[in-house]
């Protein structure tokens, strides 16, 4: 299980290939979040961010059969079309991979301490993100 909080961009293809190298893996589901329309600065809480992401991944591996998982989240200055986040989950079968990937993303949205600031100001949290996380309870 790999968690990284970093300024630098990532290579989603390389991360997915790395997860597929285990012969027990039959499915890798992945999500890439991308900056839409306006640039932003992402602030985070060093230390807690990594801890929160590991906790979310642990929760997912307890619920589904997960053979490998990579979560990368960027911080700092980001421009439109830049990649923000990668969640990739490897399982024997697609059901576990899809579900765990969506679960990690939904929990990350409400539990991982990141904050987006655009030119117009700080982005407000959305109630729909809380709803998305609640359906996994």
């Amino acid at each position: 299980m790999k968690v990284s909080v970093q300024r630098e961009d990532f290579d989603a293809g390389a991360e997915i290939r790395a997860l597929s190298s285990d012969p027990r893996v039959g499915a890798v589901a992945s999500f890439v979040g991308v900056v839409r329309e306006v640039g932003m600065t992402l602030e985070h809480y060093p230390g807690m961010t990594e801890k929160a992401l590991h906790r979310i991944v642990d929760e997912a591996t307890g619920r589904w059969q997960v053979l490998g998982c990579t979560v990368i989240h960027r911080y700092g200055e980001l421009k439109p079309t830049d990649q923000i986040v990668l969640v990739a989950v490897a399982s024997a079968h697609r059901g576990d991979a899809f579900a765990a990937c969506e679960f990690i993303m939904d929990y990350l949205k409400t539990q991982a301490p990141f904050w987006k600031k655009e030119a117009a100001g700080w982005v407000e949290a959305r109630a729909s993100d809380d709803k998305a996380a609640e359906r996994w309870r």
């Binding site: 602030e43 809480y45 801890k51 989240h73 990350l108 539990q111 990141f114 904050w115």
Partner: protein, 85 residues
């Protein structure tokens, strides 16, 4: 007892500080009590930490409900609801 308090994002900007070490009176023993204690400083503190404001807290880098008990040396962070992903 002494605790470390941190502020992030909009809250850090409104309060004009990333955080501080603070000596707590003996009746301040929970996350909620600490928030009220800081609010009593008035001005920006009263506004940013007002009852109606959505402020989340973490205790020793885990999300924490307002009722969480504090002990000496704890790291308490206050911040707006998160917006990553």
């Amino acid at each position: 007892m002494k605790v470390k308090v941190l502020f992030f994002a909009a809250l850090r900007e409104q309060l004009g500080t990333p955080g501080e070490e603070i000596e707590l009176p003996s009746d301040v023993g929970t996350v909620a009590a600490l928030r009220s204690h800081l609010r009593r400083r008035g001005g920006a503190w009263e506004l940013a930490l007002a009852e109606g404001k959505l402020v989340r807290a973490a205790l020793n880098q885990d999300m924490a409900p307002p009722t969480s008990a504090l002990k000496a040396g704890d790291e308490v962070a206050f911040f707006p609801p998160v917006t990553g992903g």
